[in-house]
């Protein structure tokens, strides 16, 4: 009855396949660079263990670029290149883009937050993109599959904790200088207040985190169940 998740021979590669392999390889390399920069920062680090100024700045360009580039993944789903839930993917990417462009870029955060989530993001992304790139060509080895659906158990909560610490530690500065806000009247007929928005995002973590975590647990069960493993 059970269908194999993937036939483990080389598939006929189509143009989208080639493009996706290239895209995922590029992202893998990008996130290796981000992790490398962060490790380099830690190796050179001389301060105390309470605040980590400049951790984001040590890899700002690459982090901004590769995380923002990930918006393409929603496009991939909508074009039918990748089968996945466009909405869930969009929410996952959006929360990180918000952290980068509304917090890390305008506010010099010195708390441990950025360190935690940058490390958690980069390890997760290296494994994830490497897995995607490989699975576009052929069935990846079990070790990679296992990592893809196991590391999140620890890394996802660490990442979320880091994100929440980052938002909390940036809120006072954002409120004080009313950073990234737009007030009526303006020609867009819209107003935006970064502070209120971020507070709403924080509240959003309460239903959002368990939902995404349970989603990943289900995925893990689906891909790593003993029945599936036998067919590998």
């Amino acid at each position: 009855m059970a269908r194999r998740p993937d036939e483990s021979h080389l598939k006929e590669a189509s143009i989208p396949d080639l493009y996706l392999i290239l895209y995922n390889c590029l992202q893998t390399v990008g996130w290796i660079a981000i992790l490398f920069n962060t490790c380099l920062y830690l190796a050179m680090y001389q301060g105390d263990w309470k605040s980590f100024p400049g951790v984001y700045e040590s890899t700002a360009t690459s982090l901004n670029f590769f995380q923002t580039l990930a918006v393409l993944e929603v496009v991939h789903i909508m074009l039918g290149f990748v089968k996945s839930n466009a909405f869930l993917t969009f929410m996952q990417i959006l929360s990180r883009i918000i952290i980068i462009w509304l917090i890390l870029v305008p506010v010099p955060v010195t708390s441990v937050g950025p360190l935690l989530h940058i490390i958690a993001w980069s390890i997760t992304e290296i494994i994830r993109y490497f897995y995607y790139a490989w699975s576009r060509a052929e069935s990846p080895p079990y070790a990679l599959l296992w990592l893809r659906y196991t590391t999140f158990i620890v890394l996802y909560p660490i990442g979320v904790l880091g994100e929440i610490i980052s938002i909390f530690s940036a809120l006072p500065t954002i409120k004080e200088h009313s950073l990234t806000s737009l007030q009526m009247p303006n020609i867009l007929n819209w107003s935006f207040d970064s502070y209120t928005f971020l507070v709403l995002i924080l509240i959003g973590y309460i239903p959002g985190f368990p939902q995404l975590y349970m989603h990943m647990i289900k995925q893990r069960r689906k891909y790593l169940s003993p029945e599936k493993v036998k067919t590998q």
Binding site: R3, P185, I187, N189, W190
Partner: protein
């Protein structure tokens, strides 16, 4: 013949056996029998599969057609409490119809300042908004025929919060005391209004055409084709012109009001409708071998 029924989640455990079925019994007959044994799961709440991982079996297929034989097992899935489409549609459109005018009529309670005279475009926008949702409710009551009778009850809350939320979000800014009229003045307002009105008429025409396509009382599906009404000629280019018109109407509204939240609403609506349209388009192509080739899903020559 008899069939064993197991739950999709626990495929090994047989929960009940249905007897008295024939090879020309339909899945709907199976559902009726099951509902007699388990009254909690009324027919529209049930779903059956031949393989827990495969697609659901459709009501009108007979057991013979599906190669289901005596003593086979079918897998049951509970779709959860169901609610009629009409009720969901009514409430999701009734909200915006009430919420928007609150911002227009009682600015003193919302913004703290009364507005002696609204800008002309603000009045037009309120008119368009009310017209649109009034039209939607009338269509739900008198025109739409639904091929599926029900949907999960959670959709009532999901859909309503989407429509009610966007209604408040847009109404807040368009009726704001510090609202800025469009940059290009009347030309922009009337272009937007013309697009809106034209597309509302188009959308209405398509709904009527779709409704006439289906003989009343049946759920039989046919290929939608252009009729004598010129608005329906868009069927020659796309499978879901009602969505094309709807997106374009909201684009017109956004252009007319020059309000970014309205554009967000247009974009969100477009993404959702594009997903639906692509799904329906694929279904049409799968269902009808002679489905016209050149048609796209929602945007002519593109999507």
């Amino acid at each position: 013949m008899q069939l064993k029924i197991a739950h999709q989640r626990a495929p090994e455990k047989v929960i009940c056996t249905l007897t008295g079925l024939e090879s020309d019994s339909t899945i709907l007959n199976v559902k009726n029998l099951y509902a007699i044994q388990k009254p909690k799961y009324y027919v529209s709440r049930q779903q059956f599969k031949f393989d827990p991982k495969e697609k659901a079996l459709s009501d009108n297929k007979t057991l013979a057609e599906l190669n289901i034989t005596d003593n086979d097992t079918l897998y049951f899935k509970d779709l959860g409490p169901q609610i009629g489409w009409g009720i969901v549609f009514f409430w999701e459109y009734f909200g915006p119809l009430c919420i928007y005018p609150l911002f227009f009529l009682f600015p003193q309670y919302i913004y703290g300042t009364p507005i002696p005279k609204h800008d002309c475009v603000v009045e037009l926008a309120a008119g368009c908004w009310i017209f649109h949702y009034f039209k939607r409710i009338l269509e739900t009551l008198f025109i739409h025929k639904f091929s599926h009778g029900t949907m999960p009850i959670m959709n009532l809350f999901k859909n309503s919060s989407y429509y009610w939320g966007f209604a408040a979000f847009i109404a807040y800014y368009v009726n704001h005391p510090q609202y800025t009229p469009p940059n290009f003045g009347e030309a922009q307002v009337y272009t937007g209004l013309a697009i809106f009105v034209f597309c509302e008429l188009g959308n209405f025409s398509i709904h009527v055409a779709l409704s006439n396509l289906r003989a009343s009382g049946t759920t039989e599906r046919r290929i939608p084709i252009p009729t004598l009404n010129p608005f329906t000629w868009l069927f020659g280019l796309v499978s879901c012109p009602n969505y094309s018109y709807e997106v374009a109407a909201w684009f017109g509204f956004s252009l007319m009001t020059q309000c970014l939240p309205a554009l967000f609403f247009t974009l969100a609506g477009f993404l959702q409708m594009a997903i639906w349209a692509i799904g329906k388009h694929k279904n049409y192509r799968r269902e009808f071998k002679d489905y016209p080739r050149g048609r796209y899903a929602i945007i002519p020559f593109l999507v």
